[in-house]
């Protein structure tokens, strides 16, 4: 794993992208080397870009939650289907957190935005809503401090680290 930039933060443009109607999938490594994988239902990036919370169905994410509890390492890929713009964000301190105020509304808004995004590609709203269906009581959030973000858009630049926005040193103007 590349060494994280100290004080790494997601820039506002990347944060907006992560919270838009993009496809979100997260992975973790199992103790036996088997990767886990789960689709997410939206995310929240804290103002300042220093914390990310990703929402899952706890039933669907059982393996992912188990692996994260063991390793704390998480990779989340965000991709916009019509443009293929893809960003992968990684963290090393992922943990389950309670849903914050406004998170249920975020998940609902995410479903609307993703359905709208995919409607342009010919997918029915019913199809997308079925894919993203999950009872509120089943939702779980994984929060982490992003340590690195990569451009995953297909092409020569794929895999390149996104320029980080480094937090200003304490006391700077």
């Amino acid at each position: 794993m590349p060494s994280p930039t100290p004080g790494f933060r997601l820039d506002p443009d990347t944060a907006r992208f992560l919270m838009s109607g993009v496809s979100i999938n997260a992975g973790a490594g199992g103790a036996d080397g088997t990767p886990s994988l789960c689709r997410a239902f939206g995310c929240r990036v804290d103002p300042g870009g220093g914390q990310v919370a990703v929402f899952f169905s706890s039933r669907q994410a059982a393996d992912l939650l188990r692996d994260v509890a063991h390793s704390r390492a998480l990779a989340v890929v965000f991709s916009e289907p019509p443009t293929h713009r893809t960003v992968q964000v990684k963290g090393r301190d992922a943990r389950v957190v309670p849903l914050a105020e406004g998170d249920l509304a975020r998940v609902r808004a995410y479903r609307d935005a993703f359905a709208q995004c995919l409607a342009f590609l010919g997918f029915t709203e019913t199809m997308v809503r079925t894919l993203l269906d999950c009872p509120d009581a089943d939702l779980v959030a994984l929060a982490f401090t992003p340590t690195a973000a990569f451009n995953g858009t297909p092409g020569a630049q794929a895999g390149a680290p996104l320029s980080p926005m480094v937090a200003p040193p304490p006391g700077a103007p």
Binding site: G33, S57, Q88, D133
Partner: protein
């Protein structure tokens, strides 16, 4: 476990799969895959396009988890895979390369997506992800019933020509495949020539493609079906083919004299080799203006049909070899009256011109020239397939060469041109030459 049908549907769908890997230190990585291909119930292949983190990880830790979504039901699956090897040539690679070109074109990624290899994985286990789903839509055509109905007619065909008619009519009637054709392989020249078609303004019988050109040429060369759900100019026929022929010189211009009949803007294509004893004897090809028209089940059905057609062709060949001696030449028929038509034969490529019109070339051209010579000098009109096979003048390139297909081609070309020379079947493996105008035969460069 994921049912095979569902796995194939997922890999066929437009919803990209997601690949989760992890480095030896446990750092995870998640990426989208461009293309997956079902191989058998224990293996699948994923496209390798870039040397990225996924690739670095799987070379160090071969365990991969693939997330799939069923395109109709939204059912999610996770397939746990173990990387085995990468193939950079051969049927799986070529089939994926053709498909990837279509996907790239469809998604605006032409020039970005290039297949470096087909990564072959063993399926270790799979799981159904809990969640809501939609009911599966029944297919418009029941492929097994359509196959049974279509197949039933094939063995009743007395000869190659009616067999091909039964096949293409069956595809239309039972599979609703409106655009289809059959090309046969000319192994000596590495060319495929059209012998029958349905659904095109011009039949294109006699049109040729080079082995390896487009989905038909690749399917024949790799002996593997190729199914593309989104078409791309990379595998399209037409302009590139004509330009290539022009670059290669006048001799090859005859290849484009009869235009290939394919759709100008196909959405989906499916090419299935017709198996022979060793190399394929030809290719069955279907296409549609609609994208994602052909399913795995259609491919299965066409492979079954092509296998039966290949077997029946071999049966015709065996019958020919075991058949009775040709019937007596019969009485001379009166010679036609009228203004003679000049018929030229160019030995360089065995092309035959009726007047100024190009008719045919290659082995079929040579067959016609042989028949016309015997007609002219001996007054013969009755011939048998068997004697033609043995006739050194016909110069069949190989003992396994498919004379029946050459005769189908010749018969159809003459019929389509409404030529003053026609072939008429008189029995199994026998035919009559009908000449309605006096001919002047001219061998143009026999000494060359």
């Amino acid at each position: 476990m994921i049912p095979t049908r569902a796995l194939r549907d997922c890999l066929d769908g437009v919803i990209p799969g997601v690949v989760s890997t992890c480095a030896p230190d446990g750092t995870p990585n998640v990426a989208y895959m461009s293309q997956g291909q079902y191989l058998d119930d224990q293996h699948l292949a994923l496209s390798y396009q870039f040397f990225n983190r996924t690739r670095q990880n799987l070379l160090a830790n071969p365990r991969v988890t693939l997330g799939l979504i069923h395109p109709q039901t939204a059912q999610q699956y996770r397939v746990h895979l173990v990387y085995e090897r990468t193939e950079t040539s051969g049927p799986v690679f070529e089939s994926m390369k053709a498909k990837l070109a279509g996907i790239a074109s469809h998604t605006g990624m032409s020039g970005v997506f290039r297949l470096l290899g087909s990564d072959i994985y063993r399926i270790e286990r799979s799981e159904v992800v809990p969640g809501s789903t939609l009911p599966a839509q029944p297919p418009a055509v029941d492929p097994l019933l359509a196959l049974r109905t279509c197949m039933a007619r094939l063995p009743q065909s007395p000869d190659a020509e009616s067999l091909l008619d039964a096949l293409l009519d069956g595809l239309q009637a039972h599979f609703r495949i409106e655009h289809a054709l059959v090309m046969m392989l000319d192994p000596g020249r590495d060319r495929l020539y059209t012998v029958a078609s349905r659904g095109y303004p011009a039949s294109g019988v006699g049109s040729e493609l080079r082995l390896g050109d487009g989905v038909i040429g690749v399917a024949a060369r790799e002996r593997n079906p190729i199914r593309i759900s989104h078409m791309t100019s990379e595998y399209a026929y037409g302009l590139a083919q004509r330009e290539g022929a022009e670059r290669r010189g006048l001799g090859d211009l005859l290849e484009t004299e009869i235009p290939f009949p394919g759709l100008a803007a196909p959405g989906s294509q499916l090419a299935v080799p017709i198996p022979g004893a060793r190399e394929p004897i030809g290719v069955l090809f279907a296409e549609s203006p609609t994208e994602m028209r052909f399913t795995h089940a259609d491919e299965d059905a066409l492979v079954a049909l092509a296998t039966q057609v290949g077997g029946l062709f071999r049966l015709f060949l065996a019958e020919l070899e075991l058949g009775e001696e040709s019937q007596p030449a019969g009485g001379r028929e009166p010679r036609p009256d009228g203004v003679p038509l000049r018929v030229r034969h160019y030995a360089a490529n065995d092309s035959v011109f009726l007047g100024d019109d190009y008719l045919i070339k290659g082995v079929a051209g040579n067959i016609l020239w042989t028949l016309l010579q015997d007609h002219q000098t001996l007054g013969r009109t009755q011939f048998s397939n068997r004697e033609l096979r043995a006739d050194p003048r016909v110069r069949l390139p190989d003992q396994s060469d498919n004379l029946e297909a050459r005769l189908v081609l010749l018969h159809r070309r003459l019929a389509e041109r409404r030529a003053c020379v026609q072939l008429e079947k008189t029995g199994r493996g026998r035919f009559r030459l009908l000449v309605t105008r006096p001919l002047e035969l001219e061998d143009m460069d026999s000494g060359a």
